[in-house]
Symmetry: C2
Subunit: 230 residues, 2 copies
């Protein structure tokens, strides 16, 4: 699944699909949209909106109502014809689909600015993500805490992973170190990597890799600026 | 163009296209792949590879050779049948397409960990991106420097933008402040926003917005973990 998904990220046009637990095929494009639905529904809930039509939701989110209905139908659909969606119910169901009803323990390898920025992000807490340790090689960082979470010596990884159930390892390391550390983490049993280093990681498909390529994101913006200005 | 692109990001299946300067329509999916080609070509160049076939490049990048040829044909094509690509030439041409042959001055609004992480990222420098100022409201941050770049009081924005040509403003601010600051920046003439706050910005289409939604990225990973484990 990991490899399929990576290819899909590269080729959003293609028709590759990911099998959900229920054996139904859900396209990565749909999966990518789910967190945005979840965010909008969370905002509506905060504003005490009880019920919303797909039409009204579509206007707020700038997608078509039929897109919303199609997307949600992948999971069985949650609305009643002519009656709209119950916001709280849909928000909670969406949370379950996204695995946010479970606690997802995270470690961050690389406790520099980016690692600290992730550890400081309060958005993660409220969504069931719990950062339980940072790791670094830098003696100046080891022993400090970020929002109460300790920075450990990277040599402690093996011991730590034996004692804690960790769902996700975030890699906020230089490019030169990312591949080796990723391999070490996978050897130690990590099944999901959230990779911020600008390097492609190659693992068997059961290892899930989600890449955040910051340099590629700003290059895309640069392309748009300069093609726009020509 | 901004709005088109934002919709496309949301709906990678759709057939929305962006017009390039040469009046040819290039799909956002192609544009998203360009930085990855550029990265691979840069790595090849560093390893003194002079020439590469689309087949060999495709194996390294895990895309099909026909995809590569199709993508590059959008820009006129750069290979010779049966002869492959000249790596250095293709790298440089790709850089021009991405606007990296020009200096892109950047300011970062929000000098916390994430803003500092971006300012510390040396990948940007080598690609023509030049961070020329950070801005914050926090008196403890104002006056410090990150890799030689000063953190200014956010009240200095107007003066600074009159005195410097800034292509891109990165928003590394809390969600609650992002919209207001973004509007202020657009009023002051900024045309491209690199937005890290988990909020959708609504501007006329000539204002380009590139979003990096970290919480959505990890939720997608969480979805994959839990649907995989079911």
């Amino acid at each position: 699944m990991g490899i399929f998904y990576q290819r899909e990220e590269l080729m959003p046009d293609s028709k590759t699909v990911v099998k959900s637990g229920s054996e139904k095929s859900i396209s990565p494009a749909v999966i990518k949209r789910l967190p945005r639905y979840y965010r909008y529904l969370g905002d509506l809930l905060k504003n005490n909106v009880v019920r919303i039509s797909s039409k009204e939701l579509s206007q707020r989110m700038n997608v078509t109502a039929s897109q919303i209905r199609q997307d949600l139908n992948n999971f069985g659909g949650f609305g009643q014809q002519g009656y709209g969606y119950n916001v709280e119910y849909l928000y909670n169901e969406m949370g379950k689909i996204l695995g946010l009803d479970k606690t997802n323990n995270i470690i961050i390898v690389g406790a520099g600015n980016l690692g600290q920025a992730l550890a400081n992000n309060q958005d993660f807490d409220s969504n069931g993500f719990k950062i339980i340790g940072l790791f670094d090689v830098n003696p100046r960082l080891i022993g400090m805490t970020v929002r109460g979470v300790e920075v450990y010596d990277i040599d402690m990884l093996e011991t730590f992973l034996k004692e804690h159930e960790v769902m996700i390892a975030a890699l906020t390391l230089p490019k030169s170190k990312a591949t080796k550390v990723a391999e070490q983490l996978v050897d130690l049993g990590i099944k999901a990597l959230w990779n911020f280093a600008p390097v492609d990681l190659h693992f068997p498909e059961e290892i899930l890799v989600e890449n955040v390529h910051l340099a590629e994101s700003i290059m895309t913006l640069s392309y748009r600026i300069h093609s726009h200005n020509q």
